[in-house]
């Protein structure tokens, strides 16, 4: 809305816009695939190194038919989803508590900040000792990783909560302990959801990375095996499948955001994070 002149949009026009939007998105994907196809045909990439989209598609179909795809995809999705859920819940609560009680911030911030840049995958051998190969270990790594954006965004969101809102809530009989979820949580929700979106992307990335280190299942395991083998079409098929799932999750998250942020000034049907 650069010029500041939003057109009056009746319901039908909104629906039409939505269709247009999907169409534009689709068109751009088609253009990308075409460019990719042409590039491989013209051998712009080292030979055998970047397979054509058609090869990836066939590889994907093959994986799907053999049942390999869905079992492994499910494993990855479970690690990513459970890790994301626990990590973001903890991160969100920690972030709010750090804003509310300086003491909590003092206590946890050295540990939390220490984990930010820690390449968690190096700890996998240690984690494997406690949590075994696969699922639980990957979940822990994903959770610790997902915490970071949630903390950062939540802290920022809660810092920006107008003080008068907290004051109002207190005089209206909200116990100090409830301020967290009665005021800070809803008021910081736009930021928290932005953080969640960042974390969602990371969680799939990290789940797959973990599976590439040690795993008995998962898309990462497939990618490791086929990558070592030079079967890049299968590697890419796995990559695309995992990314597709993440994409769908992202769409779902945005729909949820739109619903949860109906009250928010900037929440527009197709805005960035709302």
């Amino acid at each position: 809305m650069a010029a500041g002149m939003p057109a009056a949009v009746p319901g039908r026009a909104i629906a039409r816009q939505r269709v247009l939007r999907e169409f534009v998105g689709l068109a751009s994907v088609v253009v990308f695939l075409l460019a990719w196809h042409v590039a491989t045909r013209l051998a712009l990439f080292p030979e055998g190194f970047v397979p054509a989209p058609g090869d990836v598609w066939r590889a994907g179909l093959h994986l799907a038919r053999s049942g390999e795809l869905f079992g492994n995809l499910w494993a990855t999705v479970v690690s990513a989803a459970v890790g994301l859920a626990t990590g973001s819940a903890v991160g969100c609560v920690l972030g709010m508590a750090m804003t509310m009680w300086p003491r909590v911030e003092l206590l946890v911030s050295p540990l939390v900040r220490g984990t930010y840049a820690l390449p968690k995958t190096t700890l996998i051998p240690l984690l494997v000792l406690w949590f075994g190969v696969g699922g639980a270990t990957n979940i822990v790594v994903v959770a610790v990783t997902a915490m970071l954006p949630l903390i950062a965004y939540t802290v920022r969101g809660t810092h920006e909560v107008p003080q008068v809102l907290v004051w109002s809530a207190r005089t209206l009989g909200t116990p100090a302990a409830q301020i967290l979820w009665r005021v800070l949580l809803p008021a910081a929700l736009p930021q928290i959801l932005a953080g969640l979106r960042v974390a969602l992307g990371l969680s799939v990335l990290v789940a797959v990375s973990c599976e590439m280190i040690v795993s008995n299942q998962g898309i990462g395991k497939l990618m490791l095996q086929y990558g070592e083998q030079g079967s890049y079409d299968y590697l890419l098929a796995g990559l695309v499948a995992a990314t597709l799932v993440a994409w769908l999750a992202d769409i779902a998250l945005r729909a949820l955001s739109n619903r949860l942020l109906r009250w928010h000034e900037a929440s527009r049907a197709d805005s960035a994070q709302a």
Partner: protein, 274 residues
């Protein structure tokens, strides 16, 4: 709604009366000791776990051994070779990602068409496990620094884009209106309003992206050599756990220091919450 922000602490906590420097000093000392507490706790638990034989030294070496390894690394050119190399690569990659991701994010927030066109790439590119692309990056950009810098760039691009996009889309409408009515040309809108209003969002983006950048460098180096990542992998391959943990501690210290620096920056800038 404006943030009514009395006194320096923009936290919605009880405000404290002013105190003398002597009190401040005492308070700083109390705060420092409070922060040290959990760190000391973790270290004690660590040593206890080793001494009591809960975890074998190969997975969790005794603290003194780690300390010696750390001293060895820090007092030799090894520090510059490993950590120095990695941090430099991370910095370059993150800077590049910011330079391109931030304007791109703003563009996405401002232009519906662009957003619709790019939506699939953002949604797809973000969760894409970039680490799986190490082979591709190596062929395109060589084995040396460039491929790692580019990988960091690819990973950090999206957090910056999302931060910029969400920052821009959360700018209160009345601020845009006021700026336009005061003669801001639409093409200056970005520089005059959207950018300054998004600064807090961008710093949050940096706070998330920089550690991700570091992790990416370390992980890429674990796969294709060089820097701290290679050092960790080598040590791990030979079960030199003291070195592994010394390096891990180094990454934590770097991450912590970076976050403290960014948080300091965050406090220095006038908040956009007005």
């Amino acid at each position: 709604m404006p943030t009514l922000d009395l006194d320096t602490a923009s936290r919605p906590a009880q405000e404290r009366a002013h105190v003398s420097w002597r009190h401040r000093l005492a308070r700083a000392a109390r705060r420092a000791s409070l922060s040290a507490l959990p760190v000391i706790g973790v270290l004690l638990l660590w040593q206890l776990a080793v001494s009591a034989g809960w975890v074998r030294a190969i997975f969790l070496p005794p603290l003194p051994a780690v300390w010696h390894a750390l001293v060895d690394i820090v007092t030799t050119p090894l520090l510059a070779d490993t950590l120095g190399t990695s941090v430099l690569r991370a910095l370059l990659g993150v800077a590049l990602a910011a330079a391109i991701g931030v304007p791109a994010g703003f563009a996405l927030a401002e232009s519906r068409w662009l957003r619709w066109w790019c939506e699939p790439y953002v949604a797809f590119g973000y969760p894409l496990p970039k680490i799986a692309l190490v082979p591709v990056f190596t062929v395109w950009f060589g084995v040396a620094a460039l491929s790692k810098v580019m990988l960091v760039f690819a990973t950090c691009l999206f957090p910056f884009m999302l931060a910029a996009q969400s920052g821009a889309s959360l700018v209160p409408q009345k601020l845009r209106w006021a700026a336009l009515a005061l003669g801001t040309r639409p093409r200056d809108m970005f520089r005059r309003v959207i950018l300054p209003a998004s600064v807090p969002s961008l710093i949050t983006g940096l706070r998330v992206a920089f550690p991700i950048g570091l992790i990416t460098v370390f992980t890429a180096e674990m796969v294709s050599g060089g820097g701290l990542g290679e050092a960790i992998v080598q040590a791990q391959r030979y079960f030199q756990s003291a070195q592994v943990y010394a390096y891990v501690l180094l990454t934590m210290i770097v991450g912590y220091a970076a976050d403290v620096l960014i948080a300091w920056l965050q406090r220095r800038l006038p908040s956009s919450a007005g």
